[in-house]
């Protein structure tokens, strides 16, 4: 009704074309998706949707490309609040608590019906399921998932007298390699500290032997000695060892910086792998992140969610779509097109992906790292808790606070926010 009113007013006043209301029998799904409109990846998703619609002629899917993860969360929730159609979405895997808080999603346990579907739900890498599992129920199914990996410029390694087939495996080795790579206008390593600083920090913390939150998302351990030490190490990459630039390193432009040879190594999401491969004019390698106490990286990326505010038929149709999109062939295609992890072991058994990794073994690193991967930081009040940690990380990297002081502040801020949930 609302939508029709809008359409009517819009159309009569300015003849602005708004989507026509759906035909009666067919099921129309609206899916919010976290990529920028019109980018090369929209074509991949559009292609998958077209394939799905061909197989399911009675379901039509309207994908709304909403920008980054934050934009997508805002857009999808706004749509639900104002009665616009939205049946499913790919959103940040760590949005799960926010979505639960607002009572917006249904667990997949309630959606799976057949044995076959139960098997499907068990078919993904366990590390990718942990963020979406809360209170023993599965709320999010993995789709575009990543880990952080170390990209390094093999040409520069050679030039600096390092073995291009032997990337650093420990924190100390990374510093050593960074020093060797450092040149007049060349940095040893860059770890991005805008956009998702908490994510990178989490990797350091994991490697130093601490997980930053408990399983229920009600407690955090930002001010533990291991976390403080991890942040100190990150800061010292520039402050002490001078292998990384001072201040923050921009998430968005880092890939460009790496491609232009401003740094010998970078930490970045595997989601960038294909873009780096397409654009690099030098030989590059990909490695698992270096270890201190242990190896490890947080997982990252987006999960499928199904919204509560939809009819049973729509939820069924959403399930069909999600099953289609997460099937091994599509998972393989998505991994090849982007660099994101193939979400199930079966994806790596497809011919397409096997051929691809034969030719480009770097694509396997992110998967191998899943063995040691940990769920991404996610708690109740996740936005503000994350923001508190981001601020702590940035204030230390920019030299305006000491790790201990900054992380204690972040901890007490998080305590204040989380008290209500214990």
């Amino acid at each position: 009704m609302n939508r029709q009113l809008t359409g009517l007013l819009g159309a009569s006043v300015l003849a602005a074309g708004l989507a026509a209301p759906a035909a009666a029998e067919d099921i129309e799904l609206t899916m919010y998706y976290p990529i920028a409109v019109g980018g090369p990846l929209t074509e991949v998703v559009d292609g998958m949707i077209a394939g799905f619609e061909e197989e399911n002629p009675d379901i039509s899917v309207n994908a709304i490309y909403a920008g980054n993860y934050d934009d997508t969360r805002v857009r999808a929730i706004s749509a639900l609040e104002s009665g616009e159609p939205a049946q499913l979405s790919v959103m940040f895997s760590i949005d799960v608590y926010e979505l639960l808080e607002q009572d917006l999603i249904v667990p997949f346990d309630d959606l799976v019906e057949t044995e076959e579907e139960k098997e499907w739900l068990d078919s993904f890498y366990p590390a990718l399921m942990s963020n979406g599992t809360v209170d023993d129920k599965v709320w999010g199914v993995p789709f575009q998932r990543s880990t952080i990996v170390l990209y390094y410029n093999k040409d520069m390694f050679e030039e600096a007298g390092l073995d291009p087939e032997d990337p650093p495996e420990t924190w100390d080795e990374m510093v050593e390699a960074g020093k060797a790579l450092r040149g007049e206008d060349r940095w040893g390593v860059m770890v991005p500290s805008t956009g998702y600083p908490y994510w990178m920090f989490q990797a350091f913390a994991i490697q130093n032997g601490i997980e930053l939150m408990n399983e229920n998302g009600t407690e955090v351990y930002f001010d533990s000695p291991e976390a403080i030490e991890a942040l100190a190490y990150w800061r010292d990459l520039s402050a002490e060892h001078d292998v990384m630039p001072d201040g923050t390193v921009e998430w968005g432009t880092l890939r460009q910086a790496f491609l232009e040879g401003q740094t010998g190594m970078m930490w970045h999401t595997t989601g960038n792998l294909t873009a780096v491969r397409n654009e690099a004019e030098f030989d590059f390698g990909v490695a698992m992140l270096p270890a201190n106490e242990r190896q490890g990286s947080p997982t990252g990326g987006g999960n499928f969610y199904v919204f509560k505010n939809s009819t049973e038929e729509e939820q069924r149709a959403s399930m069909e779509l999600i099953k289609y999109m997460t099937a091994p062939e599509r998972a393989a295609e998505w991994s090849i097109e982007t660099g994101y992890v193939g979400i199930s072991p079966a994806a790596y058994e497809t011919e397409a992906l096997q051929d691809y990794v034969d030719d480009f073994p770097q694509a396997l690193v992110a998967r191998d790292q899943l063995e040691v991967a940990v769920a991404e930081l996610s708690t109740y009040e996740t936005g503000r808790v994350r923001e508190a940690l981001n601020n702590a990380v940035q204030s230390v990297l920019t030299g305006s606070a000491e790790p201990e002081e900054a992380l204690s502040q972040a901890q007490s801020k998080a305590e204040r926010l989380l008290r209500a949930y214990r």
């Binding site: 009704m1 609302n2 939508r3 009113l5 809008t6 359409g7 007013l9 819009g10 006043v13 300015l14 602005a16 074309g17 708004l18 989507a19 920028a36 409109v37 019109g38 980018g39 090369p40 709304i64 490309y65 909403a66 920008g67 980054n68 934009d71 857009r75 706004s78 749509a79 609040e81 104002s82 009665g83 616009e84 805008t194 956009g195 921009e250 998430w251 968005g252 432009t253 890939r255 460009q256 232009e260 960038n272 873009a275």
Partner: protein, 288 residues
């Protein structure tokens, strides 16, 4: 003070002031020019960069060859045509709405006596300080409840009854001589007829000035459209541009420059063609 009287003394004034302000020779002219160059350099530099490849632009090689690749890439990476259309529809809709609501209200304040008029007028003026931008949270709820979320009407509707427009038109209508109104009445015009035949034609310059400012303002508006739009079917240029240029998208800066120039081009060209009129318009109606 009024702009009209200025033109009479303008020439004499220019003559007298100019000598006075150039006493220390060319130095001041140089300073003025330097400032002007600094002021347009962001635009000029972005324009220059948008026609070069990333590496040429970043190495500031002035002899590097020109290329259109950035424009082509930018153009195909986002539905700009749709955004253009949305923005055009938006500014048109807002302008029509503003003309409608502000004309009626301005007429009422200028020409009709009724109890509470002064209080109401103060109330309307108060809205000048209740910025729509600050009320995004509440207006988002209201627009959603009205079913206008993610529609062009929804972006435009909070701006339609503009206190400033009402104020401007009231001033303009007050200038209309009573005799004109009497004459129209003798010819048999009713109140609406008088508004249409007498008041609105007299206020034409005000309408024009207000229109230019309104179009420029809403062409450039960002925060509220960001909040109430959800899809590329309604998103105006500014919001589309911000999504396109979001740092995490990793789009090269030269492509962003090309997209930026594309999206500002229509208004910028209009301004360069009619710069005198635009500045006059901003002078008359420029608060909002």
């Amino acid at each position: 003070m009024s702009v009209g009287t200025a033109s009479a003394t303008q020439n004499a004034l220019r003559r007298s002031l100019s000598g006075f302000f150039e006493e220390d020779g060319g130095l001041e002219t140089i300073a003025a020019w330097l400032l002007a160059i600094v002021w347009i350099s962001p635009l000029v530099f972005a324009a220059w960069a948008s026609f070069h490849t990333a590496s040429d632009a970043l190495s500031f090689d002035l002899t590097a060859p020109l290329t259109l690749v950035n424009y082509i890439e930018a153009w195909f990476d986002a539905p700009w045509l749709r955004y253009f259309f949305n923005t055009m529809a938006l500014v048109t809709l807002i302008l029509l709405g503003q003309f409608f609501f502000c004309t009626l209200a301005g007429y009422a304040f200028a020409r009709f006596e009724f109890r509470g008029r002064e209080v109401l007028f103060i109330l309307v003026l108060m809205q000048l300080f209740i910025l729509p931008e600050v009320l995004i949270v509440e207006n988002y709820v209201i627009v959603s409840n009205l079913g206008l979320f993610d529609s062009i009407l929804g972006i435009g509707v909070p701006y339609m009854a503009s206190a400033f427009g009402i104020f401007l038109l009231r001033q303009a209508f007050k200038q209309v001589p009573k005799e004109l109104e009497e004459a129209a009445r003798i010819e048999g015009c009713g109140w609406m007829g008088i508004l249409w035949r007498v008041y609105m034609p007299v206020a034409k310059p005000t309408y024009l000035a207000y229109a230019m400012v309104s179009i420029a303002t809403h062409w450039n508006n960002f925060l509220w459209p960001l909040v109430v739009t959800n899809s590329s079917d309604t998103r105006p240029l500014t919001v589309g541009l911000s999504l396109f240029a979001a740092p995490e998208s990793g789009v090269s800066i030269v492509v962003i420059s090309a997209a930026t120039l594309m999206s500002i081009a229509p208004l910028l060209i209009a301004f360069l063609l009619f710069q005198r009129q635009f500045m006059q318009a901003f002078l008359r109606a420029g608060i909002r």
